[in-house]
């Protein structure tokens, strides 16, 4: 099949792409960097700030890239990240 794809999918708008809301509890982070390493969409990077534990917590590069797999929540040893679906957008769609 051809790699040539020139037109946008016609039904692209009908698909409900969940929008994520990522919550970072920065002071709980011990800077292990697991979330940065394991996020499949590479949503996080190391920030420049120093938190209460004296380490650099992650920061979010692009929240819209998140697909809510919640792997960051699973790998975070300090329960410092959780992701929820953005509610206001849900209302618009349904």
């Amino acid at each position: 099949m051809p790699e040539r794809i020139k037109h946008a999918p016609l039904d692209g708008k009908t698909i409900r792409q969940p929008k994520a809301e990522i919550h970072l509890i920065k002071d709980q982070c011990k800077g292990c960097g697991y979330c940065i390493e394991f996020c499949p969409k590479k949503v996080f990077e190391e920030s420049n700030e120093i938190n209460a534990r004296g380490v650099r917590p992650p920061k979010i590069i692009d929240e819209s890239k998140c697909l809510l797999c919640s792997f960051c929540t699973a790998v975070c040893p300090d329960f410092a990240i959780y992701v929820v679906e953005r509610k206001n957008e849900e209302k618009n769609k349904t």
Binding site: P2, L67, C69
Partner: protein, 812 residues
């Protein structure tokens, strides 16, 4: 495998008694060659006891004549001077066998393709050349020896590469005949192009409705093993005995999948579906289309969040009730042993974004005919509504532009793609069927409605009010506000300019060879024509056979064709493969190497150059072993041996040298001696003849099976005998019929060039040409180019070359 027995020279009991037959071939030869004179000349040659010319030697009468003469005149060698041995050698060999003469005692002189047809307007030169060719053939014939052919068993299993409609048909036919079939398809589902089309012309049948039952038959057939998402990665062996390796890429979903689709619903990844040309979306876990066979879902690991053993997202796994998802599946290699191969790899569609004047890819309402098929298809992204992409409205005015990427010497391809005219006519009727008020314009160069029922469909379209305008638009421009399109061009029937406003334009794109057909070509050692499609063994009489034994073509891989032709060819290919497998055995030509153990120094050079690893070195006994069944018959080993301890049966050193000597006996300083390989350059020279490409008559062609057979000593001998120039020609590097034997040719010619330059000889006098069977023009051009070189060679240069290569005249 049987090992070759040690060579024992057979005592030739009798003096050669050669019969020469010069064929007029109607006027094909007699038109530019004086056949009577050639046959009189032949009678004067040594060992010739009978020489005659007749109108059609290949006719029953001609063959009967040969048989009678063999008995009456006790002929023990036969030479026929007529067409190419690639055409009629089997015919005459059979006649000889019928008369009790071993078929390897027959030799042919090609005075049609290589003489009369390429020198149509120079009767004298053509006659002289024909005499030379006959003389060469007679010289070789005197040294011919009888040979017995080895039999090779044929594995009764077949491989079909490509699961489009052609591959499906071929696989079903073979499996129904009772053979085990492996069908390899690189996509996740079989079905190919036909599965994406809405209706078929000229009957307007629903495409998938007639294909889906066949697809499901393939899936359920006991005799067919379906390998989807797989690619052929290695092919070894020869006719009847191919060893194939197939790379099976993992689906990450096991056969337990019930295709319920729950997994796709939860997959967070969204991407354009290639099956719908990107007009619909799919998820990372998907089934390309509803009727897919196998129906098992597949995970696109390039998109999936799970990589390298890290399971980040397990939504699909959780959704799957049957626990069919396995993220850790690994690619596997399947090893198959088959006897025949059918290549049904299909074609790609032309990408019109290279044509800036049509704005495809920039203007939203310019689409291709394949995208149109998905739009008008009830199973497609718009559920059968023809929606224009800019505003999702049904267009009122539609234009079709023909020959996009076809029949163009500027951009796109030179050839006609066969299917686009009828496809457009069908498409226009489909629009009229759903929305009768739509205005439809078809811009064309010629409408080619050449098949059964095609003209009727064309008439129906015109009756339905489709406007056919001759003259392609020179450009398509967009109204920025409405996204409507302006097509401007010249109506060449009415000699006036048009400027037509439409809502949507459909580019009727042509077909081109698959991008990966080069890989298939190398794997299977096939040839392709200049358009990139696979080349058949004979365009008229062996249209589905590849030149390589045991391989057949079906569908668009061989050239653009519609569904009916693809299916016809697929059944033909299945029948051809079936013939071989039903016989269960095949004889291989007795052109294997002959070893002279007393001369062998066990240096191992032949072992290194053999492309088939058919020679093994027996160090303890200081000798080599030749495994005849594995030998391909290129003769590279014989050319490599520095001690004359190896030669090739039917192409022995003495035979080839006798041909060289025959040419160089008179006027050597005006001649080119060319060595042509049977599969590419000799066939290319044949094509030049069939196409009547005229070139200078100073060339004399010696046929070898492979350019790798051409030993340095042959070239040296030609120069030592005073030849003006020598040409060594073969298949393109990488396309060698004998895997890679022509790399040895290149090495040898480079060595010769070096030697010539060191001794102050012009290297132009030795030419190396790679020309495929489709490149007749390339061959003819080279001979034309050589003419000034030959004319510029001075007698001093000839003498110098004679001195430099003096050693080559010594006979071992």
């Amino acid at each position: 495998m049987a090992e070759k027995k040690e060579y024992e020279p057979k005592p030739i009991a009798e003096e050669p008694r050669i019969g020469v037959y010069v064929c007029h071939c109607g006027l094909n030869i007699a038109g530019s060659v004086d056949c009577g004179e050639v046959s009189k000349f032949a009678a004067t040659l040594p060992h010739v006891v009978l020489a005659q010319d007749n109108r059609y030697t290949c006719s029953d009468q001609g063959q009967e004549g040969i048989k009678k003469d063999i008995k009456e005149h006790k002929l023990n060698r036969v030479v026929v001077a007529s067409c190419s041995p690639r055409l009629h050698e089997p015919t005459f060999r059979k006649a000889c066998e019928d008369a009790g003469l071993n078929k390897y005692l027959f030799e042919m002189a090609n005075i049609r393709e290589h003489c009369s047809w390429v020198h149509l307007y120079d009767r004298q030169a053509a006659t002289e050349k024909a005499k030379d060719l006959v003389k060469m053939a007679v010289a070789k014939a005197a040294l011919l020896e009888p040979a017995e052919e080895a039999e090779v068993p044929i594995t009764r299993r077949a491989l079909v590469i490509g699961g489009g409609v052609a591959g499906i048909q071929a696989a079903l036919d073979l499996a129904d005949t009772g053979y085990q079939v492996y069908l390899v398809e690189k996509e996740p589902s079989i079905g190919g192009m036909m599965a994406r089309i809405d209706k078929t012309f000229p009957t307007m049948d629903c495409s998938i409705c007639i294909l889906a039952p066949k697809m499901s038959d393939v899936g359920h057939h006991q005799g067919i093993e379906l390998l989807t998402n797989s690619e052929v990665s290695e092919v070894k062996g020869y006719i009847g005995n191919f060893s194939i390796k197939v790379l099976r890429k993992p689906r990450y979903v096991t056969k337990d999948c019930s295709a319920c689709g729950e997994c796709a619903k939860v997959c967070p990844i969204v991407a354009p579906n290639e099956f719908d040309v990107g007009l619909a979306i799919r998820h990372a876990i998907y089934s390309p289309f509803a009727q897919a066979v196998p129906a098992t879902y597949i995970i696109d690991m390039n998109l999936c969040l799970n990589k390298e053993g890290v399971v980040a997202c397990d939504k699909c796994m959780k959704a799957c009730e049957r626990k069919a998802i396995q993220y850790e599946m690994k690619p596997e290699t399947a090893e198959l042993e088959v006897g025949t191969i059918i290549v049904a790899t299909g074609a790609d569609v032309f990408d019109p974004s290279v044509l800036p004047n049509y704005g495809y890819g920039k203007l939203p309402n310019v689409i291709t005919s394949l995208e149109f098929e998905r739009l008008i298809n009830a199973g497609g992204p718009s559920h059968g509504h023809l929606l224009r992409p800019s505003d999702m409205q049904i267009p009122k005015r539609v234009a079709f532009v023909q020959c996009v990427g076809s029949r163009s010497d500027r951009q796109g391809r030179l050839y006609c793609s066969n299917v686009c005219c009828m496809n457009t006519i069908k498409d226009s009727l489909l629009i009229k069927e759903h929305w009768p008020d739509t205005e439809i314009y078809v811009f064309y160069v010629d409408i080619r409605a050449y098949g059964k029922g095609f003209e009727d469909l064309y008439k129906r379209a015109r009756k339905a009010g489709v406007k056919f305008i001759r003259g392609l638009p020179s450009e398509i421009r967009e109204d920025k506000r409405t996204h409507n399109l302006w097509l401007t061009g010249e109506n060449t029937l009415q000699s006036e300019l048009y400027r037509i406003n439409v809502d949507m334009a459909i580019l009727s794109v042509g077909l081109e060879s698959r991008k990966d057909s080069e890989m298939i070509q190398r794997l299977l050692t096939l040839s392709r024509n200049q358009d990139g499609f696979f080349l058949e063994a004979h365009p008229k009489l062996r249209p589905v056979d590849a030149a390589t034994g045991g391989i057949f073509f079906a569908g668009c891989a061989e050239g653009p064709k519609d569904i009916k032709d693809s299916v016809t060819q697929a059944s033909a290919a299945a029948a051809r493969a079936g013939i071989l497998m039903a016989k269960g055995k095949v004889t291989v030509e007795a052109i294997t190497p002959i070893a002279f153990p007393d001369k062998c120094k066990a240096c191992g050079l032949c072992v290194k150059v053999c492309p088939y690893n058919a020679i093994t070195l027996d160090k303890a006994n200081k000798r080599i072993n030749v495994v005849e069944a594995a030998c391909g018959g290129c003769g590279t080993c014989a050319a490599e041996c520095p001690f004359g301890a190896l030669t090739q049966s039917h192409f022995t050193d003495e035979q080839i040298i006798s041909q060289i000597d025959a040419v160089t006996e008179h006027d050597a300083d005006k001649k080119i001696i060319a060595f042509c390989c049977n599969w590419c350059s000799y066939a290319g020279a044949d094509l030049a003849g069939v196409s009547r490409m005229q070139y200078p008559p100073n060339i004399r062609i010696i046929r070898t099976m492979c350019s790798g057979r051409v030993a340095q000593k042959f070239v040296e001998r030609a120069f030592a005998r005073g030849a003006a120039a020598v040409m060594v020609t073969g298949c393109h590097l990488g396309d060698c019929h004998y895997i890679n034997a022509n790399y040895q040719t290149q090495k040898r010619v480079e060595k010769l060039w070096k030697k010539m330059e060191e001794n102050g000889l012009r290297r132009e006098r030795l030419q190396l040409l790679w020309a495929s069977a489709a490149e007749g023009e390339r061959f003819a051009n080279k001979v034309r180019e050589m003419k000034p070189v030959v004319e510029s060679v001075t007698p001093e240069e000839i003498e110098k070359a004679k001195k430099v290569f003096e050693k080559a005249l010594r006979v071992d």
